[in-house]
Amino acid sequence: MDALTHLFQGFGAAILPVNLLFAGIGVLLGTAVGVLPGIGPALTVALLLPVTFQLDPGGSLIMFAGIYYGGMYGGSTTAILLNTPGEAASVVTALEGNRMARSGRGGPALATAALGSFVAALIATAGLAFLAPWLVKVAVRFGPWDYFGLMLIAFVTVSATFGSSPLRGLTSLALGLWLGLIGIDQLTGQTRLTFGVPNLFDGIEVTTLAVGLFAIGEALYVVSRHAFAPEKPIPIKGSVWMTRADWGRSWKPWLRGAAIGFPIGALPAGGAEIPTFLSYTAERKLSRHPEEFGQGAIEGVAGPEAANNASAAGSLVPLLTLGLPTSATAAVMLAGFQQYNIQPGPLLFVQHADLVWALIASLFIANVMLLVLNLPLVGLWVQLLRIPMPWLYAGILVFATMGTIAANPSVVELLLLSGFGVVGFIMRRYDYPVAPVIVGLILGPMADSQLRRALQMSLGDPMVLFQHPGSAIMIVIAVLALLAPFLFRGLARLRKEED
């Protein structure tokens, strides 16, 4: 086991007290900035990256790993407690997590998120250490037709987030698809629905939509109801910690989340969001308490949160082996590597073996550090809900808009953010689910460009989708998943008639 020896050497370097200190500082900083509402991991890492430049490559990479995992974790805290995910990958976490927090179970929700992140990151980091070279060979075989098949599956699973009415759920999805059209088409350069506004040429930023719909929409809705049904968030009911039942219901979703998140995260165009949707649907289908979904089911936090973190580690596979950043956070990481004259790519493991293995070892250490530092902090984060509501929501809005201002300080962007807030308010008011809008915005453009790339390569022949086994199988799965509920219903009726 060559990899194992390297890994031990990496640990040997990373375990030095001073490096442990760097890891600790990194985790703390990452969590502290990541926990601010509306500030996702990408922005967190981008903001804190310069801090690490002052160190030598080894020390800074270790701090960097801490910031990365800390930022990932911090993002889910606000999603759960305040229903304000700072990035699209925590949107699903907010669905069940915030319900739990509202019924006074914020502590267990945070704990299962932390433990799930830990377990998933552990598995995925091990996968990164031992499977990366093999996995990347499989991943690059994924053609546009295969991605299109994957998108179809993801689209079908979105229905799990629809809530009570398919009509309203589909309308939310359609709104997301419509927003996804806006901007310059990547393949042809044609502008769609931009109405000549240059700020729309790059399309709608997913973070702007997520923060607008969730943070601002939520604030508007809470305010509108506050005077009549003052809904004071309940800080804690029962224990902050997970009960035996919580453990029992969490461990399988953690493992499944990791199994879904890591391979999809490793795909060059997989992304972190799709695994969270898939995991949520899987948990809902497999749960023994499906009726609790939408009311605060712990599986719905454990699975997606594990998937999110596993895909974050998975996205390091194409980053390290191909130099290919697959998420905004990974793009910032790449910039970080280049700062030290390290060009991630096929030669990285050869030319900078010691650094790479030190980084992987630091990821393990940062992961443990995160758990050690953050589990005790769960109790503290839950106290956030004790802040009086006027100040709490005022603070949320200040940080949420600051995240947008920091990424793109333009008035148009802020107007969009506020506009999405109003849309989010109306949707909440008339019981339209919010998550499908974000799903539509993410999946729509991806499905569009992958399908068109496939057709461009086949010179317009649609059969290309069925000539490749991967895409053919995934399209069949998607169609089956779409039709299965109807078929089962039909079968059940048949059986009834036979009786």
């Binding site: 020390g59 350069g189 191909l322 096929p346 793109n408």
Partner: protein
Amino acid sequence: MSFFKSRLLAACIAVAASVSPVVAQDLELSIIAPAGAGGGWDSAARALQDAMVKSGNARSVQVQNVPGAGGTVGLAQFAQQARGADDQLLVGGITMVGAILTNNSPVNLTSVTPIARLTGDPLVVVVPKNSPHQTLADLTAAIKGDVANTIWAGGSAGGADHILAALITQAAGADPSKVNYVAYSGGGEALAAMLGGQVTAGISGYGEWQGQIESGDLRALAISYPEPIEGIAAQPLKAQGVDVELVNWRGVFAGPDIPDETKAALSTAIANTVKSPEWQEILKARGWTDYYAPADDFAAFITSENERVGTTLRAIGLAK
């Protein structure tokens, strides 16, 4: 593993962050990077920030990201806010020239003041390692034979990669408007399509694919630079009988209508920075090629690039 011998001192410096520039010239600049964090112009702006402060050619430099529409959003904002200003710079490059034309941007590069061209990186034409095309001649023959089935992968539509694919197609004797160019969000995503063997050939910045070229996963057929570059085995297109050159250049601009002395002061500061060892070190670290040209040469260069890029984009059908 010497780099692990870090001391606590380093940690203290890290936490205190960088607020200790060498006091030299009194320039307090703000540079607009018309792209999001992590992109090419962003890293160029931050590299310039780093080099100017460390080499003592500016007291402080702030980088501001104004992303959008191939840099034209940043350009439009800059043209407005930096009019006559002595402390504002904008980073731009060849992609912006194309974006101005395809987006019908009301503001173009003639409305700002060119200060200096900084870097110019070669684009590289590659094929997957088990491609039947061994040489550039094989590839151009394939283009001439069947332009539709010669599938290219590269960055976004209308960008430098796309322009080069069209120019090569034209030089090979085929209709450039028929080029089958599959656009990806950047060199990275296109790389996966190359390695997966889904396309015939690919174009990207040399630095982006350097690792795969050196490891043998990709075969570099040619670079788009006019002359051979030291350390790059692939020869220029021109040297191989395809009369095409394209350099992915980046430069800095000052606002419109600045007084001559401001222009001179900014030009001098940049010229001194470019000569500094700090800047040279950054070029080496990032794999950028020095392509410095002073203000007047740069202005003339932009006029000719505008002409050339415009002609190609009209031929592809992306600009009117």
